[in-house]
Point group: C2
Chain length 165, copies 2
DNA sequence: ATCCAACTTCAAGCCCGCTTCAGGTCAAGG
DNA sequence: CCTTGACCTGAAGCGGGCTTGAAGTTGGAT
């Protein structure tokens, strides 16, 4: 099982097997998410490990990481070997938290919605479906929990000068 | 409580109270998400109802709707009055489904991750953390459930000619 | 009457994650 | 050898959701 020629995949083969377009693979490579060697004729040849890295990238995207974040995360995993359980554990537990947070937010949203449906609100006089100050914006994308207070009640619900969502 | 002058908000006031930038409000208006009247000097004056509509937009975004979808949804709600329970119910139940789907996907992801952590895999020999054909791509954004079969096992795991994500 | 912050419009720019295009090169089968 | 399809690069384009900039106008306070 010494690395033989046939371990090296062309970009087309990698595309087929990963389900990504070749353009996406070149793009990923330009970002340093995957790496290739070149033939004498300057064509890319990918190690099988690239498939693993791509799987990682796709999974990470689902968890909501940007490609830049993925790059950082990948930097903590071995380049050409399968990660050890401990490599993997540190990464995966971060993801767990992300996922938990996302689920919690969605559930909160769902609960609020249910309340609104029940009360037939959005009448906006004390409906929960409102978040005047948009406080959560600073907590990052997707982090705005909605719906806090009623703007019809007070004159200056705003907190700071930062109006930029 | 007849609609008085002071019910009309300037774009700056609306920005403060909604937490959005004025540029975003103009943008929303250009998309038909909110509406204003104009002063003799051509400045926008928003009815209070705009706050409600903005709250709706932000909430909808959280649920994953594009602004175009929001526009469609808003078209089913009354322009200047609070929606009735039935108006609201039809819209909200759609959201419920979206939310439920998103939660289900996240939980599936979480389960897979947990499995991977347990087995210390990503060794890619029979790890669940892989989805060669990426079948779910056609099901829309966010719909890819991950991780199905192992590319190291067969030569042509691909299903059709569609390699695009 | 004057001032100045807040408003106006329109066009262009930005970020992300790619795709598409143009113009050329490589490599494997006949 | 020749063809053909896969590959190469760099630049530009796209869609979504805004922001920024320039150049000009309004309106409320003094």
């Amino acid at each position: 099982m010494t690395p033989s020629r046939h371990d090296r995949l062309t970009i087309g083969q990698l595309a087929e097997r990963s389900g990504l377009a070749t353009s996406a693979l070149r793009y990923y490579e330009s970002l340093g998410l995957i790496h290739s060697e070149r033939t004498t004729g300057n064509q890319r040849r990918y190690p099988r490990a690239a498939l693993r890295r791509i799987a990682f990238v796709r999974a990470a995207q689902q968890v909501g990481l940007s490609l830049e974040e993925v790059r950082t995360a990948l930097a903590r995993l071995p380049e050409d070997r399968a990660p050890t359980p401990r490599d993997w554990h540190s990464v995966a537990s971060t993801w767990q938290h992300r996922i938990d947070r996302q689920i919690a937010e969605l559930q909160m949203m769902k609960a609020k919605l249910t309340g609104c449906i029940g009360c037939g609100c959005l009448s906006m006089s004390r409906c929960a479906l409102y978040n005047a100050g948009d406080r959560a914006a600073a907590a990052g994308p997707g982090a705005r929990y909605l719906l806090t207070r009623d703007p019809d009640d007070g004159p200056e619900p705003v907190v700071g000068p930062e109006r930029r969502l």
